[in-house]
Subunit: 424 residues, 2 copies
């Protein structure tokens, strides 16, 4: 067996996110896909295959996007500034009917460029053509956690088994789109799978007031209560959006250890509301952050989500102290990783996957250096991402992508497929 | 007299912001500080001193930051996530007491790096040590419009005359900080100057509910009514923030042609509220956008302001159609320029100042290309800024600054002065 490459990241600052927030000057070494050393410069050094001089910049765990429909890059700027219903029914759905596996791959490749350039090392993706989308992500070297399944008990079992065995970078967590698009019979099929595999479960939950109200009218229960009554949360999981949880919903979330995956940018742009994250955090509910799809955001930018999560909460609570930078930074990294079942991608520590990013502290908005976590949340941005590494492989560095295809080719392909779908 | 250099910008897309929004493939030529040609490729070409191949990227007017305390870069990440009163009185004011002209210059130079890297070509700045701050900005080649004055009638007259004659890149518009920090006697001094020079007037107005209520209690009038009663708006102007204007205030704004300079990021982070920009626009009030100081934002990023202006309005109005991309893009460019009295820096047209930026359309978030203005507002960011030109001079290009001092020196100086102020 070939010896795995040994990479040294040194001469920088390290924000491990492991334990209390602290910036150290540790060395971080990576062997193959995993971190093998974190600590001070030792007396003697091994022979490294690559040494990355961080030049005083910041090494930290990559951001994890805990809710996305990545391939919806094709909808970017296609239908903004309009109410939800015409947006969905007149614009998004008719185009989605024209998606093919090849098109999903083309648009997913575009999304992955954006993830890498923005320091995002994994996405929790719910969309069509899952096997092809996942294979495409893995081929780029990107970490992909899928959510969603449909069909007979045999079909969902097959998809669960197949996608969890597809590639080390790919996994699938049981889920379906939402209460309002799924029959109780279909929900039971997923619940049976959840129980067979003792697996967590995720879905859209209480994104809008209307969703909450209509579910109550239909089932006499909120979406959270309904899913809980079906045993879907017996092995954990959580909900995407969760702008409008009831007090009892919150109790279920806390008692079952569920994650609220908040998508503040999408919720704002679609006027869905502001998820009360301060209340959720105070109630002991675990928080993660996601971008939602580029159709409603329109970026796949976790810096934007962190900023919005913090400041929208201040507006909602009429309190400038509501939800601090540390809470949202943890949600965007550790919280999202754990929601996605990526327990070995959450922090910088020996044995963890090397899903790492380097933040350029020589960008104007990162100066002066007083409190780096607050700089990240309140003045950081995609322009500060200098390097993105997934499973020990550098996929983005100083504006250049290291991928099978060139960005030019990916841009051209996405543009061509979109024009074809639009009939232009 | 030396012949002025002729620069050709070609092979790109042009969003002139002149008239209805349209992207053309025009050539744009600059002679000296001004645009001298906009149009198709002519039969014969003159000899150019420089040719900038835009490579298909977008040329547009630079963003204008219509409200800032630029030198407050020293407060970035120094005191986040706390209520307004302790933030101001325990953290900001004690440090500001230690400011010197040299320190204001050091922190302003840092702000200018951020402006240039973010495509901002001018700032409307209100802060201490105005003559030194303005001279420093001009020395960097940055366009600076100052606001504020204090002292006897002779002193304010002297400052107005001196700063408006200081440098072609510098101007001063009469103003003072706010109603709650200014005596009526001091306001009268400024009003007399406004009338002597037929000049517009700007100040902080109705940023918080408390400000509005306390002014009513003190004067029996809102800030807008008070300023109007003193004749301060007789030659136009406007207010910074304006989160809480009354209906009568709005009438005054519309009738006097005043600008609302909205600062959505700062208003959100300090929990001041959301300015009802949809209502203002519907009432025919002119809109501009600003960042406020990096103490409360914490970035000097007009992309963030545009995004927030649009999506916060959707939240406030419970309507995803509220305030579209075009409205906020106009506010951040043309509206802000006109609020700042920069009538010849607003659009791309012959005779206008060459305050231009190039947006890199080969960044993932700018693809696919379907609607470029919507891309700018909803998925654009500082990472998409490829070039920034002010008065015909390229000050930022492909990540490099062309300034008297290196960024390394500016970062080190700002850090050193801040540490000294903090006694560390």
């Amino acid at each position: 067996m070939e010896k795995e490459a040994l990479t040294r990241l040194h001469h920088g600052r390290v924000l491990s996110m492991d334990g209390p927030l602290a910036v150290t000057e540790d060395e971080v070494w990576v062997r193959g896909t995993r971190i093998c050393y974190v600590g001070p410069l030792p007396e003697t050094l091994p022979a490294f295959d690559r040494e990355i001089d961080l030049g005083g910049n910041l090494l930290m765990p990559g951001f994890k996007n805990a809710h996305a429909h990545s391939a919806m890059t094709f909808c970017r700027s296609l239908a903004d500034d309009m109410p939800l219903q015409p947006w969905l029914f007149d614009h998004i759905f008719p185009l989605e009917a024209k998606l093919t596996p090849e098109r999903v791959c083309a648009f997913t490749r575009l999304a992955i460029l954006e993830y890498l350039a923005g320091g995002v090392t994994a996405a929790f993706d719910m969309y069509y053509h899952r096997p092809e989308g996942a294979a495409c992500a893995a081929q780029q070297g990107f970490r992909y956690v899928l959510c969603g399944m449909s069909g007979t008990p045999e079909q969902v079992e097959g998809e669960y088994t197949e996608l969890n065995a597809l590639h080390p970078l790919v996994s699938l967590i049981p889920g379906f789109h939402a209460e309002y698009t799924t029959s109780v019979e279909e929900m039971r099929v997923v619940s049976e799978l959840v129980h067979r595999h003792r697996a967590p479960f995720f879905t859209h939950i209480s994104e809008t007031e209307r969703e909450q109200a209509e579910c109550l009218a239909r089932h006499g229960m909120t979406p959270t209560e309904l899913f809980d009554s079906l045993g879907l949360f017996d092995y954990g999981g959580g909900g995407y959006h969760c702008c409008h949880l009831s007090d009892h919903d919150m109790q279920i979330f806390r008692d079952q250890g569920l994650f609220v995956v908040s998508c503040p940018a999408s919720n704002a742009k679609l006027a869905s509301g502001i998820a009360p994250l301060r209340r959720y955090a105070d109630a002991g509910i675990r928080l993660a952050l996601g971008t939602d799809g580029p159709s409603s955001n329109n970026a796949l930018d976790m810096f934007r989500e962190m900023y919005l999560a913090a400041v929208l909460q201040k507006l909602l609570c009429h309190d400038a102290a509501a939800l601090d930078a540390e809470t949202v930074l943890r949600a965007a990294t550790v919280g999202s990783a754990r929601a996605m079942g990526l327990r070995d991608c959450d922090v910088i520590a020996v044995g963890k996957q090397a899903d790492l990013i380097v933040i350029d502290l020589d960008r104007p908005s990162m100066r002066p250096i007083v409190n780096i976590p607050q700089n990240l949340v309140y003045s950081g941005g995609r322009d500060c991402v200098k390097l993105t590494m997934i499973a020990g492989r550098v996929l983005y560095e100083d504006g250049e992508f290291h991928l099978p295809d060139s960005p030019e080719r990916i841009y051209a392909e996405a543009q061509r497929e979109l024009q074809a779908m639009l009939g232009r």
